[in-house]
Amino acid sequence: MIQFLVKRFVGLLFVVIGVTFITFVMGINAPGDPIVQLLGQHYTPQAYAALKHAYGLDLPWWQQYLNYLHNLFTFNFGLSYEYPNRSVWDILSSGVPVSLELGLWALLLQLIIGIPLGILSALRANTWIDTTNMGIMLALYAIPVFVLAVFVQVFILWLDNITGGSSGINWPVAQWGVPWHYGWSDIQFKIAPILVYAATGVAYYARLSRTTMMEVLRQDYVRTARAKGLRERVVIYRHALRNAMIPLVTILGVTIGFLVTGAFFIERIFNIPGIANITLTSIYSRDYPVIQATTVLLAVAVVLGNLISDLLYTAVDPRIKIQ
């Protein structure tokens, strides 16, 4: 177990170093001189040299990279190119709780909506319930998240319109409330983005849990359980469901990947001030240190998600030996 953990953490370290190296190389090869951009009309050769030194950009590239790595491990992402005297962390920190809140809610909804829907379909396989459910899930999975977001926004506007704004459902279609506060004024903002954000993952979980559940229901031990006269409820919940859950744990990493890329669209379309939105703003203003920092943060989130799902996998299935 310890050996496995050490091995995985070394692997994690390699991915992080790879990602930081790629983003770093992209950053120093990026077109345009950030110092010139930062100085703007105050440009003088002396000021240029001084500022370049202050940002550490006059060092050889490998030294810059080592500095960058060193700073990274002390959670210091450097200084912004766009805003003088603001650190990258200062810019990103306001978005982190918002994105985390959005992501965790979506993750939770995927599990508590997706899995029961899949199980329901498996238990009612090839009936109209199954067909309709799986049809909707396939559509939710295939239709891109930004199209779903637009549909939901138009629906809310239409609902608002036909009720004349007097129904109390006067939902704004873009904005975000206070993070981690759930008064009515906050819920109004949060419910639609969270639902849309979770939709792809819900569909993915539903489709997969239907497949795994149906596979388990065909197993010999389920037939044995039925043959010895156990009640259907016991067969399903005690014998089948537990075993069907095992493969579902491994796709946690995949759905975190969905969430990371989905964040860019959800936060942009619903105008949510999370880190994806901040990254997009930084991309438009070519603020490379911020882009590098978010890329590293998101890549680490994905790799950690994969690691956690591997650990959970061994925790729920004692047959799997860690090597």
């Binding site: 396939l138 637009v150 239409w158 596979e215 991309i283 998101l298 890549a299």
Partner: protein, 363 residues
């Protein structure tokens, strides 16, 4: 060919022993171009697998309807714009008093600044956007861009995927190790994030470099080459992994062994015996990947990192129209619905193809 005979086989097993049937089946197999007529006894495989698959596909209503809709969109994107630009009479612009022909005002980047945000009319079949541009013309151009990017990515995806996948599966060794490591890295790192990063940093340089490329580089489409390239880079490991798995299975089969015993070179075995047998898996994987590609391209354009103004892409149309979503929902719904239909059709077709080629995958 022998569609009627197939269902009869299990019903009347005795027919298998009838002396009249056997030679006929064998000749049919040979005519259908079976890879191994000598190895497979006619009783086991009465007709060509490809023909069986196509028959199953033809029975799949959802997949066939999807295929029809996709063909319709391809047709509209290719021949729609030139036809649309010949429909309608001259129009005297209120902006500068010039007389415009339909070739002008039905062009996807022509701005008619006093005709903004109109609903559908005889002149503008789907209305106009916030700059007075024809939505139908922009939509057809957007679909064309989507399909072009999909084609570009699939050509690279299939070429790279088959080359690396076959080499990794057939020879193993170093190239197999490389493929395994690379796919692990690509699966750990979300592809779209890479595209956002690369296009965000190098997009403007790509605009400058590729804008001189004739035809595809014009009208803000230059960055698509970069976006397409990265979409292909993120797509091919999956294709290579499928191809590798299939190659590993094929390699162990007797007809390959027979070919090797007969002294066939490795190159010839790969080209003549392995690659033709990858057909079904490559078709299914690339069809499913097309919808990923189309979503990727429109998503990147929606974020402002793909097609640039005055070019048109479905994503760019959505991004333009979301600003007026509360007053003109029509403008944002049109590209969204079209994109949803295209993506769903490719998914249904991909699912149908998979079920047709590999019936065991269906539960």
């Amino acid at each position: 060919m022998d569609t009627r005979k197939d269902p009869q086989q299990p019903v009347a097993p005795g027919a298998m022993f009838s002396p009249s049937l056997e030679p006929e089946m064998l000749s049919l197999d040979q005519a259908a171009g079976m890879p191994v007529p000598a190895e497979v006894t006619p009783a086991q495989k009465p007709s060509s697998p490809l023909r069986d698959s196509l028959r199953r596909l033809r029975r799949d209503v959802r997949a066939m309807v999807s295929l029809g809709i996709i063909l319709f969109f391809v047709l509209v994107a290719l021949i729609g714009p030139p036809i649309y630009q010949h429909i309608g009479g001259p129009y005297v612009s209120n902006v500068n008093g010039l007389t415009l022909s339909p070739a002008d005002y039905h062009n996807y980047y022509h701005e008619e600044l006093d005709r903004q945000d109109e609903g559908p009319s005889a002149q503008y079949w789907l209305g106009t956007d916030q700059l007075g541009r024809d939505i139908l013309a922009r939509l057809m151009q957007g679909v064309l861009i989507s399909l072009f990017v999909a084609l570009f990515v699939e050509v690279l995806d299939i070429t790279l995927g088959i080359t690396v996948g076959v080499l990794a599966g057939y020879y193993g060794g170093l190239i197999d190790q490389f493929l395994a490591r690379f796919t692990d890295l690509m699966f750990a790192f979300p592809g779209l994030l890479l595209i956002i990063l690369v296009s965000g940093i190098f997009g403007q340089s790509a605009d400058a470099v590729f804008s001189h490329v004739p035809i595809i580089g014009a009208n803000g489409n230059a960055r698509l080459l970069l976006v397409g390239l990265i979409l292909a880079i993120t797509a091919w490991p999956l294709m290579a992994r499928y191809v590798r798995g299939q190659t590993l299975q094929l390699k162990e089969q007797q007809f390959i062994e027979a070919a090797r015993t007969a002294g066939t070179t490795n190159l010839r075995i790969i080209l003549r015996h392995i690659i033709p047998n990858l057909f079904s898996i490559v078709v299914v994987a690339s069809t499913l990947n097309i919808s990923v590609t189309i979503v990727g391209e429109s998503g990147i354009s929606l974020l402002g990192l793909g097609v640039q103004q005055p070019g048109s892409s479905i994503g760019l149309m959505i991004s333009d129209a979301t600003q007026n979503i509360d007053t003109y929902p029509w403008e944002v719904l049109v590209p969204c619905i079209v994109l949803a239909i295209i993506v769903l059709c490719f998914s249904f077709l991909g699912d149908g193809l998979r079920d047709a080629f590999d019936p065991r995958s269906k539960d």
